[in-house]
Amino acid sequence: MENDKNILEVRNLKINFNTYAGTVKAIRDVSFDLRKGETLAIVGESGSGKTVTTRSIMGLNSPNAVIDGGTIMFKNQDLLKKTRKQMDEIRGNDIAEIFQDPMTSLDPTMKIGKQIAEPLIIHKGMKREKAYAQALEMMKLVGIENAEQRINNYPHQFSGGMRQRIVIAIALVNYPEILIADEPTTALDVTIQAQILDLMKELQAKINTSIIFITHDLGVVAGMADRVAVMYAGKIVEYGTVDEIFYNPKHPYTWGLLNSMPTMDTTGTELPSIPGTPPDLLDPPKGDAFAARNKYALEIDTKQEPPFFKVSDTHYAATWLLDPRAPKMTPPEQIIERQKHYAKLTHKTIDQHKDTHVEEQEEQL
């Protein structure tokens, strides 16, 4: 591991899918870290590669997936080099996943008590009674009422929100170090979504797990994430802390994403939208994959892929606009508003630092 604070390090991951139409380059050189105890959100449109990235961490990619290079380091071991049997030991134990659809991710023929106790029996070799007792505790923890009776119910006897609580209980029963949540609330109503998100935050604090949160809903990201990675066409195009991505975005794709979601204050006759559709990854375009949809594209974007430019220690973006030689561009109006807000925010924290500094000096005197 390059850094002690990291629990997971993904480096230069490349994954292709062999299909009848040809080779789809689904992940094209993706690198990121996951720190201990943090929530990293990966956002992007469908087909941008967010799910394939996490499936590779879990070792759950479909058989036609070919790893074209890269490493996924977890506890000084490369997960990509593990055999299927070795991955079985890690999956559900050290790394667990909550899937999108609570209706299909539970076994309809198995009582939920057994489904929650199963990871304990398999991975920890626990006796049935003890595992069930712990399953009961877990059910109470995720907020299922009358847990003693409901432990013998089948999944169809629960509502969607309750089922997602059960899925969370199964994922967390072994206190995994990494939890992957792939659109865990997309299938739920907003009120239920808010409850599930609060529950996830609460449990994360309790058992100190790191979360990779996949979603396309930027509102959810703003509430859940510590850091955000934005993916487009099989690549990460920008990453930073949640404040940096929402208040000081640098990549035109991030601008487009933020603008195309109306907030409660959005008015006007037209929503700023991103024209066109994502590129075909059977034959990825040369240069910056977003160039064709980007009105801020430079000539070089069609020729050469942009490297990551550093914005701050925690914030990087892959766009030629950050190159010192690039012509000055004015971002869309709404983004300028966000950046003004960011300036205010950072000033505030600097002022606070100053204040404490002064106090310290006074104390010394």
Binding site: G223, L257, T263
Partner: protein
């Protein structure tokens, strides 16, 4: 601006009840006594959680169901009293629907031009083959597709493009009223904005009236002139979209709004969700929709009215 006068009403829903399995043990009261009006040229947003009955309302309006009781009056005519073939055909031309799932709502074995032209054929709107082709190509261009797309099959298109085909099909018979049932929920964020912009543009160009059914509250707020909030098959509050977001009167509306995630980390860190206790709705008191302020309706019992009036005064005072 929308003309909210009596004569401009295009759709009146009066005490609509839609029960399934009526009289049986598994009876479901999907829609239970709902009334609202839609005015010409406006977008009426219908929001609610899954199971609130919003889709059933849409389907009952376009007469996919026979209402259990109540009336749906469209263009001055009761929809369930259309008897002659001409009356029915006229109604189906005037009202069209755009569906949620762009993958399931297009016949995979038909070419795009035949999907779009089905309504044209049924209503004999084309003089000859050349005219039919011309109309289809024009429609495809209107919705932002290419005329070469007309001889392809649905599977060759992305979700956003398919939804555009669905819109072109609805427009083919030149309707005045379109029911859009979660038309953008299945699409990606960047594509959602494109489709919403298209719907808004078509409304301006063709003076369309929309009934927009959705659960994505921020999108509904953006597209709608007025919004109705549904819960357990009942309409709880109706107001202009600005009013309902700025001064939600009903506890349920306030709770629903407080749960909407906003793409602003500072707001999210400070967010408090307002819980809602639904048991109050079932205390047996008779409730009905009352117009508490001009164009602001709320479902309340007699003894609750003073409370809502007070709330309204407090909220408008804060505004000043």
């Amino acid at each position: 601006m929308i003309d909210y006068s009596e004569k401009n009403k295009v759709l009146q829903v009066e005490h609509l009840k839609q029960y399934f399995n009526q009289g049986k043990p598994n009876e479901v009261r999907a829609v239970d006594d709902i009334s609202f009006d839609v005015y010409k040229g406006e977008t009426f947003g219908l929001v609610g959680e899954s199971g609130s009955g919003k889709t059933t309302v849409g389907r009952a309006i376009i007469h996919l169901y026979e209402p259990t009781s109540g009336k749906i009056i469209f263009d001055g005519q009761d929809v369930s009293k259309l008897r002659t073939k001409q009356q029915k055909q006229h109604f189906r031309r005037e009202m069209q629907m755009i569906f949620q799932d762009p993958y399931a709502s297009l016949n995979p074995r038909m070419k795009v031009k035949d999907i779009v032209a089905e309504g044209i054929d049924i209503n004999h709107l084309a003089k000859d083959d050349a005219d039919r082709t011309h109309q289809v190509e024009e429609l495809l261009e209107t919705v932002g597709l290419n005329k070469d797309h007309s001889s392809r099959y649905p599977h060759e298109f992305s979700g956003g493009q398919r939804q555009r085909i669905g819109i072109a099909r609805a427009l083919a018979v030149q309707p005045q009223f379109i029911i859009a049932d979660e038309p953008i929920s299945a699409l990606d964020v960047s594509i959602q904005a494109q489709v919403v912009n298209l719907l808004k543009k078509l409304q301006r160009d063709r003076n369309l009236t929309y009934l927009f059914i959705a659960h994505d509250l921020s999108m509904v707020k953006y597209i709608s002139d007025r919004i109705g909030v549904m819960h357990y098959g009942r309409m709880l509050e109706i107001a202009s979209s600005d009013e309902i977001y700025a001064h939600p009167l009903h506890d349920y509306t306030a709770s629903l709004l407080s749960a909407v995630p906003v793409p602003d980390p500072e707001y999210e860190r400070a967010r408090v969700q307002i819980p809602y206790d639904a048991s109050k709705e079932f205390d047996g008191k008779p409730r009905k929709l009352v117009e508490i302020a001009p164009h602001h309706w709320i479902r309340a019992s007699e003894d609750e009215l003073p409370m809502y009036q007070k709330r309204l005064e407090e909220k408008s005072r804060v505004k000043k």
